[in-house]
Point group: C2
Chain length 420, copies 2
Amino acid sequence: MTQLSPYAKKHKVTVVGSGNWGSSISKMVAENVAANPDVFEPIVEMWVYEENVEVPKTSKHYDPSSPLCNGPQNLTELINHYHENVKYLPDITLPNNLHANPSLQESVKDSSILIFNLPHQFIQGICQQLKGHILPYARGISCIKGVHVTDEGVSLFSETIGRELGIYCGALSGANIASEIAKGLYAETTIAYDPPHMDSKAPTPKSGSPSASAVNIPTIVHFEHKDSSGNFSKVKLQPLPAEYPVVDHAFMKLLFHRPYFHVRVIHDVAGVSLGGALKNVVALAAGFVDGKAWGDNAKAAIMRVGLLEMVKFGTMFFGASVNSQTFTEESCGVADLITSCNGGRNHRCAKLSVERGIPVEEVEKQELNGQMLQGTLAAKEVNSFLKKKGLEDEFPLFTAVYRILLGEVTVEDIPSLIER
Amino acid sequence: MTQLSPYAKKHKVTVVGSGNWGSSISKMVAENVAANPDVFEPIVEMWVYEENVEVPKTSKHYDPSSPLCNGPQNLTELINHYHENVKYLPDITLPNNLHANPSLQESVKDSSILIFNLPHQFIQGICQQLKGHILPYARGISCIKGVHVTDEGVSLFSETIGRELGIYCGALSGANIASEIAKGLYAETTIAYDPPHMDSKAPTPKSGSPSASAVNIPTIVHFEHKDSSGNFSKVKLQPLPAEYPVVDHAFMKLLFHRPYFHVRVIHDVAGVSLGGALKNVVALAAGFVDGKAWGDNAKAAIMRVGLLEMVKFGTMFFGASVNSQTFTEESCGVADLITSCNGGRNHRCAKLSVERGIPVEEVEKQELNGQMLQGTLAAKEVNSFLKKKGLEDEFPLFTAVYRILLGEVTVEDIPSLIER
């Protein structure tokens, strides 16, 4: 331990994923890491799925005399040379202390903080490859939006990661359109971080270093989680060694908060995750109503009814672990709902389906280049889950959206279907 | 008492006011009155401030051979002849059982239900003229948006009406753009109705008529209200005679709810009223941010922060009588905020002021034909009240809006001013 830092060890941070949102988060995290050398190792690793990429001719970096601009190059090399993700976050300069790494296992070596930011379909595979290669006491934050809903229950991506890797993993979600944030435009987000007591009990002030923790608690905590079906899963958690700065809510703010990216840290991981999934169903409903040109009253009404169904879904299936205020007062709830109903893809495609008089599925084919809307998938999964529980009528707007997608009812039926 | 109705008396309904929103409310109320002849007297009176009006040449009623279309006519005569408020709600057919009445005092004669829907600056004068002419046990509902804020405290228009007339008066407010509702486009609203126990204790089932009340309770209740300065005002309330159908939440729904106008009835009168005032301050902030083209994240963030300041204002100054969910879950709160930030005048003028680089005051002059924005007035009143209490810093967004209006800070300062 040097005189300069009160901690024997510093946190090394790795971001797993480097798409548009992954690169944006990496940029902010690397800025904060650079600004807090007492707490963090200087270099942030960003795992990049290696691909061959050509520097676009429109890029400011394009220089026909440069070997890097002659034919396809490794994306990691381009990122590390130009400090720009020319493919997924063009025209945004990344900090010098952000290092693109094509090796998943090397990228997480010695990292005590793992930030997951990749498409949800890759979570399982990535976790399999990471097993045995991460620090056993690492802490995770999942920036992956949404939840996984089956007939049996609702599982959170953060918990899948935590269970697969045997670590505690929180969640980050908010009204966060990546391209706006990357430009430094003002935004907010919500982080949910609620590990078992292990972490919060650990720190005991050290003389001369009030915030450092002196006692390494050797206990291994079995973190029990009850999912929406009432099943418990147990994760063996290792406490963070006391040589590290404590990982708590203040730490999360230090790592993610920027002057233009305001962070609120709460405890409700399920609420944060549910918001990011269910808002897409509401955005479809808002799009339907906008397609009818029913005006601002109707749209606001649909959003409000949807917000209350989000609250009800959370409190009904996750009980006391979900706080209704997560939906009604946090960025991951009401604010993310507002952005999704104002301009997201789900809203746009639902609106077009009404305007063109064709099913949303058709609009998907016409507009999305083979990609699928998250809202239609969520609407189907949520309906299947509710149907199995016999609770479709308790969620009339979610059910109406599903039935409109099926063609069983029309948008004109929404007011009577949700009338109470 | 006839065999046809279980009640000896039916409610006669009067709407005081006939502008765009007053005429829209009158239309819906008259529709419900006609559909419930057991509960209501058939004719709804609408008091109209008499003026001379010409049938516009663009009106479908315009007929040069008709004496009513030759020069200015009394507005009430035109309304009663054409069943249309050709001046304030053109092209919308009003029900036949809605009667426009130019005499304030005659319009309220024998009415047990008084609905107030007029510009707030006329409340005092109208109440003065009504004194002694209304039924002493009448019940009121104020559809007047907002509250009256002075350095000394916040008073509700519904309470001003109640105190002046010695009656109980509830409030109606929501995401309610009148022109959309008049067309029958789907909308929601919130009614707050919370009279002292008097009313709810009164009904005792009569044999053969379970919902009728048999016992006329002679008690006169002194209804005490504690305003935001801690002052109590006392209103001598007379119980509704038991011959009338009970006026409770179900009654309010019967009177206002339509298939296209969904009503939720709650108890929180202060919350309902505050929402309609404070959202205009937030709409200015959202307009400023949109003027900068900061994108959807920033706008949603500003709306969320504003919503939380609305909650805080309500709970700080009205204590337990305000429910935070009124703001975060009801039409009068989050939904009205959404409509106001999407398209209202306050939002539009604030946006234009940034785009044109001129003060909001200038935009008001250029755009509003001498009318004043409610948001700028509310921002000033709220700031003056907060300043007197030394609480400006507790409401950083409200304070930022006020200081931007003054030119003391700029829109660029908002993120740092509201950073927590």
